[in-house]
Symmetry: C2
Subunit: 307 residues, 2 copies
């Protein structure tokens, strides 16, 4: 497979491979969600199961009228009911992807994480993966976690890396380069994540993550700029050439996401992984493009059966 | 005073006001430090007290030969001796600024922080302030802490804000807008810094920080992009228009610094404050321009007597 190198190539790849996913949407009654639905129908990468509360049924019918062959409507009483039903549609295999509309994220996640009837396998770890297309970087940049895990434990770091590598491979990158981010290169017990990093490198050396490169701790610039590595006398397959950045906490991951999208003029995509199917939870301040690319990312990642 | 709106205006301002500082340099024997010294001598914003170990005396004399009227040389046995003497030159008022050359940062900071003979007043808080000139932002952006304080306590947050406001005022901004950064807008005891933020806003309302605006928690994009604030229904003098960003921990502050400088195509400057005189500690991977602007920033900040 050719490597997917931009977010528009991602969409083209879905179209040329004829991938069209079934997406269950919880409360599709805000302009951003409508935009994503209409654009993805036009570009033929998705069809929809719209789960809506009664108060907003008119919006769903309006969408349906534009593309009746590719939309089914499910009416329930409340947004929480919509979340529960959409999750069930994914569990039973009627939908491949779950997407958030106008519902509080916490409420949606409660349905996703509900034991026995949610989307997280027992012992699984929910994490967020983002993909950035940055004008000043020579390839796509994958990173975690900007949205879900506040202070990753060793187990959570491990799951984040596995989830990100799995996404990277879907883009055709069979040997991703993972940088473990900190503000210096030192392992220091005052920063417990650097101890996790040492353990993760050991596990990688033992083959736990398959074919990949891993290095760190290092800062975000050293990970993505060979010149910075040279100045520090650092050289590895990861330094200056990272595909995946693993951040030590949610504040730094979120700052990276927001800074790239605002000041780096980047296009972004993101989704939740670790679940039996991708969950699309766009950030309110994402651009329309980013929201659309987030859906496309989930379509590429597909459902568990593909993985 | 007119507002200084770019880093090159900062240099012009020093020149037009005839500000020329005395800078004590610890081990000026690496190409980056030499570059800053030569450029600042040419632009007449600094003169130098070069404190060098015997092994590198030749470099100091080489610099001296280019500008003998504005350079004095002090020879000592080791880099640690150089740090101790340079700190003493600042304490006695013979120098206005301390600048790092080729010495380990930890060793330099040990001399700076040494009780009774260092540069930190009793009860003072050392913090790092950075200034970024970002093509996609409409003004200079000040932020802390990318380099020194791992997890600020309430007291350290307070000092960071005071230090940053003081620097902002030197740039002619009399009413700076301070954003307290987190990944959401919620105050949540699981994230102790958000509790500190609530306390800081209360203190600001009581006038503790003088004329200024403060708001948060909010993410970095909401702080600097009015559109993101609008989407979230947030509006304040700070949202979308921040002058100062206060980060919750060193990993997020450092990530912001590195991401702006690499992917935001930004020019950066930075220094340590809270000491009786500014301390210039350029990051190894900073560009020559950033290192020079860091010195210029310290020259503007001046010594304690000006403050």
């Amino acid at each position: 497979m050719n490597m997917i190198q931009t977010l528009s190539q991602l969409v083209n790849c879905l179209r040329s491979r004829g991938i069209r996913r079934k997406v269950a949407v919880v409360c599709p009654n805000d302009p951003h969600t409508e935009y994503v639905i209409i654009r993805s129908l036009r570009e033929e990468i998705a069809e929809y199961l719209l789960v809506t509360d009664s108060a907003h049924l008119d919006v769903a019918w309006h969408l349906w009228s534009a593309s009746p062959d590719f939309i089914r409507i499910y009416e329930v009483a409340t947004p929480d009911d919509a979340a529960a039903l959409a999750v069930q549609l994914v569990r039973t295999g009627e939908a491949d992807i779950l997407m958030k509309g106008l519902i509080n994220t916490d409420n949606l996640l409660r349905a996703v994480l509900k034991k026995g009837v949610g989307l997280l396998p027992e012992g699984g770890v929910l994490s967020h993966v983002a993909v950035a297309q940055v004008p000043l970087y020579h390839k796509l940049l994958f990173f975690s976690d900007a949205a879900v895990i506040p202070r990753p434990t060793l187990e959570q770091f491990r799951a984040m890396i596995m989830n990100d590598i799995s996404v990277c491979r879907k883009f055709g990158n069979d040997e991703p380069r993972v940088a473990l981010i900190h503000c210096t290169e030192k392992i220091n017990e005052k920063f417990p994540h650097t101890l996790s990093y040492a353990a993760l490198k050991q596990e990688a050396a033992e083959g736990k993550f398959g074919r990949m490169f891993i290095d760190g701790p290092m800062d975000a610039k050293t990970a993505c700029d060979k010149h910075s590595g040279d100045i520090k006398g650092l050289s590895s397959p990861v330094v200056g050439n990272a595909d995946i950045l693993i951040f030590p906490n949610i504040e730094s991951g979120n700052t990276f996401y927001k800074t790239l999208s605002l000041f780096g003029d980047a296009n972004m995509a993101g989704m939740l992984t670790g679940t039996i199917a991708p969950v699309v939870v766009p950030s309110r301040s994402d651009s329309g493009n980013s929201k659309y690319y987030s859906l496309a990312l989930a379509c590429l990642a597909g459902n568990q059966q593909d993985q």
